[in-house]
Subunit: 145 residues, 2 copies
DNA sequence: ATGCATGCAAAGCATTTGCAATCAA
DNA sequence: TTGATTGCAAATGCTTTGCATGCAT
């Protein structure tokens, strides 16, 4: 799937150094696999691994990690952005629990069937976003009880 | 399609008063039909119509208008949110120019074909987002020249 | 007359930045 | 050794809020 080692290698390839803070942030992201989490959550988890880590450092690294396609960034609702480790290289989308951030991967991409119907439009396509939102079963149980 | 009168009626129905500021904001949104625009752009346009309008008032009204489904809110990129008057009642999505905010409506919704393949997932669906991003021809021309 | 709406200024929140000190390579 | 990286604190940008005043109904 993906390993810390492969990420560290990718960082090296892009001329980034391996600081203990950076390693701790990556570990934190690993712990949150399958969930979109805020920078604050990552910061807290990182602090548990390497307490001498600053919030700015977290933000700066999240930016780097996004740039080299190690993590996804999106915003579920207004407010803080959320991040998730990319575990699957192939193009995909997400269904996201808007309560806890849990995600599942959706392999289906609507874009292919679309392309034809966009040709007549006044646009050159550069990107797209397709996200489903819902409540995961765990969160639904909490509601009921 | 949609008229200022119908919006004003909807406001009344929801027990909102018709202040000149509110009217000016609605007019501003009309002027921006077919474009996602920031609160600031709406504020500026509103000031041209009724200069005694405060930025807070704009935000407060955008919130109200979103709540009663008069406008759409989304965020194209990080930073400011963008808003657009809803001109078409039927469910649809958008292709959005990430340079100028221009939009075109896409009637196609991928959700229908999807529903079956989500049934096995651990989720109860509550919402979805499907947006295409690109450059409109006008913005592309500017690039070249 | 009543309470919703506004203006103003201050606060809130997530995120970014400048700069000096530090550390990985 | 040297430039990338960090910590710190301050600044930024967007948005929200409290409160007194004003205005639509």
């Amino acid at each position: 799937m993906i390993s810390k080692e492969s990420i560290e290698e990718k960082l090296k390839d892009n001329n980034y150094k391996l600081t203990p803070q950076r390693k701790a942030i990556i570990e934190a992201l690993f712990d949150c696999k399958g969930h979109f989490v805020t920078a604050e959550e990552i910061f807290i988890k990182t602090m548990g691994k390497y307490p001498q880590t600053n919030f700015s450092t977290v933000y700066r690294n999240l930016e780097i990690l996004e740039e080299i396609d190690i993590i996804h960034k999106t915003s579920i609702k207004d407010g803080a952005a959320v991040y998730e480790l990319i575990c699957d290289d192939s193009h995909h989308h997400h269904i996201i629990c808007s309560k806890c951030g849990k995600t599942e991967i959706i392999k289906f991409c609507p874009l292919e069937q679309m392309k034809i119907s966009i040709e007549d439009k006044d646009f050159t396509l550069t990107g797209h976003k397709f996200e489903l939102y819902g409540h995961c079963n765990k969160c639904k149980e909490k509601e009921t009880s």
